[in-house]
């Protein structure tokens, strides 16, 4: 039973707080993805857990053992780095065998485990090559091999795919997921790529400015973001936000802004009745806006049409505000055309304009 606990972890660089009260409990065999923009403290958090960076305060536990003051080698972890960090003077075999040699594992056992790991990762034919003779994808496999051969309690991965080209990244993503299923090892994976987070994670930790914003499974993070930052960070293209005020017209509560007026859905009225006259941000994902020629309440001007083959992205303008809409692949309006759209309000969100916190 391998459980990882991070308790009230802080990291300060001078007066800058890089990680602010990081609390996380990771269950056995769980695949956790920490995601956030660059500089949000995600890598620092991982490096502190690895023992490569000293925390300013806070505690770490792995399998019930307090490891806060322990050296990286005494934490029973393996780490995969963004730039692979393969030892250039050793061949693939040497790279993979390195940790076992240090542990004093006997030669036959090392040989067996290296070959087994190489088999799993499909790098058996490269064992006597030097890292520089390998492609990026192969190097990343070796780095994974070096990690799995140790059979550690926890795998830590620091943006392992960001040096790979887009196609290889997708391929390695599924391979890491497969590998995780096969080994069942507790894994903490850091990335700035929300697609990696969505596709790989059991649970996602979204960070910004050193603070954890939300911890939840991918669908929950997507469907029920706790604030506007999480809503905008997860999803591609990102969620649209429209500045509106809540006003009463003809006895009905409406979202009103320039060239836009939408009646509040019935079930929202009780939540927002008290906010009459206040400014909010209405959030709606591109796939939740429907192009509808019969709709007359929202008229949008087409600014850019981006056909992607499987769908078409429309960049629209409603009053002063921009919107991105996902439409069918065959729908290609001309630029400058006015089209009617409707919002699927049951999928929309309302965020506080001041704090960004989700109201609905």
């Amino acid at each position: 039973m391998i459980k990882v606990v991070c308790e009230h972890v802080f990291k300060k660089f001078g007066s800058v707080i890089a990680v602010n009260d990081f609390n996380l409990e990771i269950n056995d065999k769980e695949f956790i993805v920490i995601v956030g923009p660059s500089g949000c403290g995600k890598s620092t958090s991982l490096r502190m857990l690895a023992g490569l960076e000293e925390q300013t305060s806070g505690e770490f536990y792995i399998s019930g053992q307090r490891v806060t003051d322990k050296q990286p080698r005494d934490r029973n972890i393996a780490m995969v780095f963004q730039n692979y960090a393969l030892y250039p003077h050793m061949n693939v075999y040497g790279n993979m065998a390195f940790s076992l040699k240090i542990q004093g594992v006997d030669k036959q056992e090392i040989d067996r485990r290296v070959k087994e790991a190489a088999e799993i990762l499909d790098i058996s034919q490269y064992l006597d090559r030097k890292p520089k003779e390998l492609s990026g994808g192969q190097r990343q496999r070796v780095a994974l091999g070096r990690a799995i051969i140790r059979e550690p309690a926890v795998f830590l991965m620091d943006e392992p795919l960001s040096n790979l080209d887009a196609k290889l990244r997708v391929q390695m993503r599924t391979e890491i997921s497969k590998l995780h299923r096969r080994l069942g090892a507790t894994t903490i994976y850091v990335t700035h790529d929300q697609i990696e987070a969505m596709t790989m994670a059991d649970r996602i930790v979204v960070m910004k400015d050193g603070i954890i914003q939300q911890i939840a499974d991918p669908q929950t993070v997507y469907d029920k973001p706790v604030n506007q930052f999480v809503a905008s960070f997860m999803g591609m293209p990102p969620m649209n936000f429209l500045e509106c005020s809540i006003k009463e017209q003809d006895g009905k509560l409406m979202f009103i802004s320039e060239d836009l007026s939408i009646t509040l859905p019935e079930n929202w009225v009780s939540y927002l009745a008290g906010m009459k006259g206040q400014q909010i941000n209405l959030g709606i994902r591109p796939e939740n806006i429907v192009v509808d020629s019969s709709a007359h309440n929202i008229q949008a001007k087409v600014e850019v049409v981006e056909p992607l083959g499987s769908e078409t992205l429309l960049h629209l303008r409603v009053g002063g505000q921009g919107l991105v809409v996902k439409a069918g692949p065959d729908y290609k309006p001309s630029v400058g055309e006015m089209i009617g759209i409707t919002f699927e309000m049951n999928k929309a969100h309302v965020f506080s304009k001041e704090t960004g916190i989700t109201i609905i």
Binding site: L52, I77, F98, I102
Partner: protein, 271 residues
């Protein structure tokens, strides 16, 4: 095509023009070392003559040059090896923990004119009874070698991705273990450059050796200096001895030139 050939020729002509003033004295020294005293002083200089090994014989047999060669070797190798033993971990620490200020202080020791150390050292080593010992000379030569090694290696280590050491630490190494197993094996060219140059500094050192050595530990540069007596200057022997001194320098530089250039520019450009 012709244009390219032409510019090639021009290029070589330019190289020869630049190199000639540097190489001519060297050529003159080597030729003179195989001449008799009268052939050397002949004007205009003789370019074709029957070479003699008398000068070398005189240097090695009469002047006991093998002893000075041995002294110079012990002191140069000793000071270089000790400088490496102290300097490499020091440089790595400075690089890893970004202690640039410390690095500058070490460099300051090097930038101080060596002559400033001479009198205090002479008094110190006399009191300790260490004048004319290998230890005193090795220690004094390390003043030049050690800061140089630290300075070159800090730049070199800065160029190594620190993730390599972190990976080794996660893989089970202590920091010292990672230094020995990962950092040092990857630093061959840098270490080669730094130690070659530190060796040559010591090999060529005149001032410290002049004051701190005597009969027992006399080094090559001092031995040559002693050739110049009141009565006469045996130019042939001086030239032969000079060839003996500069030969290791030339050989080392020729062998390691590729690394030396790489080492001196280490960290300047990401490879």
């Amino acid at each position: 095509m012709n244009n390219k050939k032409m510019s090639n020729y021009l290029w070589y002509l330019l190289v020869i023009l630049v190199a000639a003033p540097f190489l001519f004295p060297l050529l003159w020294i080597v030729l003179a070392s195989f001449k008799t005293q009268s052939q050397i002083v002949t004007s205009p200089p003789l370019w074709i003559f029957t070479p003699t090994l008398e000068n070398y014989k005189s240097v090695f047999v009469d002047q006991q040059f093998s002893k000075f060669l041995f002294n110079s070797s012990v002191i140069a190798i000793g000071s270089t090896v000790l400088s490496l033993i102290i300097g490499l971990p020091a440089a790595y620490t400075i690089s890893r923990y970004k202690q640039k200020v410390l690095g500058v202080f070490i460099l300051l020791a090097r930038l101080m004119p060596g002559i400033a150390y001479l009198i205090p050292w002479f008094m110190l080593f006399t009191k300790l009874g260490m004048v004319d010992t290998y230890s005193a000379l090795i220690a004094s030569h390390m003043l030049v070698g050690l800061p140089f090694i630290v300075w070159v290696m800090v730049n070199y280590f800065d160029g190594l991705p620190h993730e390599l050491v972190e990976a080794a630490q996660v893989d089970g190494c202590t920091l010292q273990g990672a230094f020995m197993k990962i950092v040092l094996p990857l630093s061959g060219p840098g270490i080669l450059t730094a130690s070659t140059l530190a060796f040559l500094f010591s090999w060529n050192n005149f001032m410290f050796s002049l004051v701190l050595s005597s009969e027992r530990t006399k080094t090559l540069p001092i031995a040559i200096y002693n050739f110049v007596s009141y009565a006469e200057v045996s130019w042939g022997s001086v030239m032969a001895a000079t060839v003996v001194i500069i030969l290791p320098a030339i050989i080392l530089t020729m062998i390691f030139q590729r690394y030396i250039i790489k080492g001196l520019t280490a960290g300047a450009v990401k490879g």
